[in-house]
C-alpha cells in the first residue's frame, strides 16, 4: 500500500489538508487519529529524527515554516524517500503558487488536492515530474 495518509497541520495543530488512502475513516476516527498524531509529532524537536512509530505504521514528517507535513506509511516504506516526497510536493506547490504559504493552500485547497491526486494514487507515488503534475491543473485553469 505504501502511503496511508497525507496530513497538513499548522503548528497550532489545525488541519489544513487531509487525504486518506488506506481506508475511509469516519469523522470520529479521523479526529481521534489526527489528534493523536499531531500531539506526538508536534512535541518533537529538531534534535529528533523525522520518523515516529505509531500503532502499526510509521509517520514521516517535515516542517515548513508554520506547516507540518505528516505522511503515514507502512512499515516497509523507505523513510528518506517519503521525506523527499514531501519536499517534492512542497516544491511543486511552490512552482505553482510562487512562494507558497499556508494561506495559498487554504484558499486553493482543491488545487493542493489535485496536485496530490496527480502524485499519489492508491497510496503509491506515481508521478514525480513537476511539469507532469502541474500540466492538468494549468490546462484546467486555462479552460475555465
Amino acid at each position: 500500500m505504501g502511503i496511508r495518509f497525507v496530513l497538513l497541520v499548522n503548528k497550532q495543530g489545525q488541519t489544513r489538508l487531509a487525504q486518506y488512502y488506506a481506508e475511509h475513516l469516519t469523522l470520529d476516527e479521523r479526529r481521534a487519529l489526527e489528534g493523536e498524531i499531531v500531539r506526538k509529532c508536534l512535541a518533537r524537536t529538531d534534535q529528533q529524527c523525522s520518523f515516529v512509530e505509531h500503532r502499526n505504521y510509521k509517520i514521516v514528517y517535515r516542517r515548513y515554516a508554520s506547516l507540518f507535513f505528516l505522511v503515514g506509511v507502512d512499515n516497509d516504506e523507505n523513510e528518506l524517500a517519503i521525506l523527499e516526497f514531501i519536499h517534492l510536493f512542497v516544491e511543486t506547490m511552490d512552482r505553482h503558487f510562487g512562494n507558497v504559504c499556508e494561506l495559498d493552500i487554504m484558499f486553493h485547497l482543491e488545487k493542493a488536492h489535485f496536485m496530490l491526486e496527480e502524485m499519489v494514487m492508491n497510496g503509491c507515488i506515481v508521478e514525480t515530474s513537476k511539469s507532469n503534475i502541474l500540466m492538468p491543473i494549468q490546462l484546467m485553469d486555462k479552460a475555465s
Binding site: 523513510e79 494561506l103 484546467m140
Partner: protein, 982 residues
Amino acid sequence: MEQLKTIGRELAMGSQGGGWTGQSKEFLDLVKSIGEARSKAEEDRIILREIESLRRRIGEPDVPRRRMKEYIIRLVYAEMLGHDASFGYIHAVKMTHDDSLSLKRTGYLAVTLFLSDDHDLIILIVNTIQKDLRSDNYLIVCAALTAACKLINEETIPAVLPQVVDLLAHPKEAVRKKAVMALHRFYQRSPASVSHLISNFRKRLCDNDPGVMGATLFPLFDLITADVNSYKDLVISFVSILKQVAERRLPKVYDYHQMPAPFIQIKLLKILALLGSGDKQASGHIYNVLGDIFRKCESSSNIGNAVLYECICCVSSIYPNAKVLDAAAESTSKFLKACLLFSDSHNLKYMGIDALRRLIKINPDIAEEHQLAVIDCLEDPDDTLKRKTFELLYKMTKSTNVEVIVDRMIDYMISINDNHYKTEIASRCVELAEQFAPSNQWFIQFSVSNNFTFQTMNKVFEHAGDLLNVRVAHNLMRLIAEGFGEDDEGADSQLRSSAVNSYLRILGEPKLPSLFLQVICWVLGEYGTADGKYSASYIIGKLCDVTEAHLCNDTVKAYSISAIMKICAFEITAGRNVEMLPECQSLIDELSASHSTDLQQRAYELQALLCLDSQAVESVMPLDASCEDIEVDRNLSFLNSFVQQSIEKGARPYSPESERSGTFSVSNYKSQYQHEASSHTLRFEAYELPKPSPTPATPQISVSTRTTDLVPVLETTYYTENNQASKLPPVSDASSADHGIKLHLDGVQKKWGRPTYSSSSSSTSSSEKKTNGVTHIDGVRSQSRGTLYDTKGQQSEVTAEKQKLAASLFGASAGKNEKKPASTQRVPKANTVTAERPGVPRAISPEISKQKAASSPPPDLLDLGEPITTTTPTIDPFEQLEGLIGPTPGPSTLDNSVTTSEQKAPDLMALYTDTPPSSSSSISSALGDIHSTDKNSQMAKNVPSIKKGPNPQDSLQKDATARHVGVTPTGNNPNLFRDLLG
C-alpha cells in the same frame, strides 16, 4: 536574463496562480477566520455557523455553478475540521455531472473525500464515471479514473472494468498511467475480478512512457509479493530498466535533485529484493547493477541516501555476494559516521541503524566498527531512534552481552507507557533470557547467569506481567524447579531460597500481576519451607494474605490453596504438627463454599489431606518431586482386571475410536451427538453401563511438573478437560489424556533443559563463558581510564562510560577471535580499540559545543517560523552551520559575505539536507538546480536569490493582494503569510 525568465514564469502563471482573486468575499472571510482561530473551540464555532448558513443556502434553487463550487469547498472544510456535512453530499454528487472540467473535478474530489466506497450514493456516481470514461477530453477521463480508484467497490468493478481495460491503450500517457492504477486498485479490492487481466501489467511494463512504466511497478510489486516464482523471468527486464534509469536514460523531468528518477529506482530495488531473495541465480543478475548504483549514488543528498538505503535493503535480502556486501557495509558506515561527526543527523542515524540491523544477519562483524555510534543512538533521547537501536541489539545478542542488553531493555520497558510496545519488548527480554540460559558446566558462572535470568524474569513480570503469555510463567517455574541438575544441588537450593526470599519481599508490593502471583504461590508452596528459614505458619499466613488481597481472582486462589496444601503435607511428612491458623481455616471454609467447583475441590482435598497419617501423605505428596518424570500408563493396564471382570459379567468389549464413527474425536463430539439425534428410531436395548472412568489417572497425567499433586494447577484447562471427559464415553479417557497436559511445555524443553541444550549455543558457550569474565575486567579497566580523563573534563568521562558500555556490548565479538581468556592479552587490544575510536568525535565536539555556547542563545526550536532578530556581525563557519541546521536568521543578514561563505558550506551541509526548508539559502540552491536548465552553480545560486531571496518582494506583493481582497494578517497568525520555503 534570468530575471526576465522568472518574470515570464510568473506572468504565465496568471492571476489564478499567485493571487486570491476569483473567490467571493464570503469565502475569503471564512478562510481568514479559520486561519486566525486561536483555539479549537473558536474554530468549531466558526464551522458550526458556516454549516448552518450552508445548510440554508445550498438547497436554494438556481445557485450559480461557480458559487456552488465554492459551497462544496466550504463543505470540504467543514468535514476536514471534523464536522458532519452529510447534508451536502448529494450536491457534491450532482457537481460531478457538470460539463466544466474544473467543477467536475471539484465534485469528484469532494465525493472521494466525503464518501466511503460502500456509501449509498456511490451508485449514483458509477453512471457518471462510465460516461466520463468515454469522454473525448482526456482530462475528464483522467478525473474519472482518479475517482474510480477511490469509489469503485467490489460490486461495481464489472461496470467500469471493460472501459478501464480499453483505456490501457489510450494515446495519452497520463490516461494509460491512471488506467494502470485503476486496475491496480481493482486488483487490491478483489483479485479474482481482474485475474484474467494480469498480463496487461506485464505489457505495460514495456510502455514507451516512463511514467506508465513506473506506475506498472506497483501492481507488479503486489503480484510478486503474492507469488514470486511466476515472475522470475522478469528479473532481467527489471535489471535492465534499473540500469537504464541509473544511467540517466530517462527524460530530465524525472530527475529529482540531480538524481535520475529516484522513486522508480527505489521501487525497482524493492522488487528485485523480492525476486532475488534466496535465489542464487536471480541474484546473480542483480549484483552488477547494485554495484553500479553504489558507485554512482552520492551520499551527499537525502534522496541519494534514500536510494543507497534501498540498495542496502536489497543486498540484505538477496543471495549474499561479498562484493556488494562490502559496498553495502561501506554505505552503512557512511550513514553512521555522519552521525559521529555531526550529532544532528538523526535521520541518517536511524537509517544507518536499520541498515546495520539488516546486514548483521549476513555478517555479524559489521557491527563491531560502529560500537560508539550504536551506543550513541541507544542513549539518544529520541524514542524512535532508541527503539530502532533496541531492534538492532535484539538481533546481535550473544551469550556474552545478553546481560547488558536485557538490562537495558528492561530499564527502557519500565520507562515507557505504550502497552503495545511494552508487550513487545517484554517478550523479547524473556526470549533472550531463555535463549541464553546456562548449560551444565562451570556452575558458579551459571548460577550467576541463572540468577540473572531469574531476576530478568522477575522484573519483566513485575512490570509487564499482565501482558505476557502463560507459557512464560511456566518456564520460570521450570527454571526454579529444575535448577542446574543433579551435579550441583547446592546451587539449586541457593537459587530456590533466593527465589523464596525475593518473592516474600515482592509480596509486600501493593499491585502485582496475576501471572506473577501464580508463580510466587507455586514457588512458596514448593520451596517456602525447604531451607528451614521460614516456618510453615509464616508462609501459610503469607499465602492467605495473597488470597485476601486478590479476592476476585480464582486462578491465584487455586494456586495459593494448592501451595498451602503442599506446605501442610511437608509438615505432616516431617512429623510436625500442623497448627491451623484461623485465617487459613476461614479461607478453607470460604473456598469450600465457593462457586468455583475447582476451588471447592481443592479446599476439600486439603481438608482430607489433613486427616491422613504421615505415610499416606508422603506418598501422595513427596517432597520436592516437581521434576520427577511421570509415568503415564497409556494402556491403563491397571484397569485390566476390572475390564476382565466386567466382560465376564457380560459387558460389551471396548471398540477403538476409529471403528466407532470414523473421525470422531474430542472436538467433534457434537457432530456425533447430532448423528445420534438424527437417527430417530427408538432404542430398545438398554444403555451401556458407564464404565467407571479412571479418575485418579487424569490429574496425575495432567500435572507434569509435580507428580503427586492431587489437583492440577491450572484449573481453566482442567475444567474444559473435565467437561469433555464427562461427555465422552468413559473409556476414551485414555486418549483424551493426550490433551490433558496442563502446562504448555511444547517446544520449551530445549531452552531450559540442561542435557538437551540447543546445539548452537552449547557449542559456543564454553568459550564465550570465558570471555564473559574478561569483559568484566575490561569494564573495570576502562573505568579506571575514565578517571584519568576526569582532568580533561566531563566530556571524556562520558565517553569513558560509553566505552565501557561498548566493551560490554561488543567486547564479546572482539574477544571471540581469540579463544584464550587471558586478560593480559586482551586488554591492550581493547584499549586501542576503545581509545582510538572516540578520538574522532572528541576532537571535534568540544569545539562545536564551544561555538554553540558562544553564539546567540539557542533558538526556540518550536518557533521555527518566527524571524529571529539577533544579527551577528561576524560570520564564522560554525555559526553558519548552526543557522542552517536551526531556524533561519533574519533574511536581511544574508549579505555578500554570507553568500561567499555559503559556497564553502555545502560540503559540510550536504549531510544536513534533511532540514533544508529551515534555510532559505540552501533551499534556493536546491530549487535552483531544478529551475535552471544550466548546471552552472553560480547561476543556480543567483536565480533563486532573486526569486525567493532575502526580504521577499513577493511576500510583500502577496500581502498587498491580501489587503486588496480584504484579508489582512491581524497578528494572530502571521505565519499564514510566511512562505513555506522561506
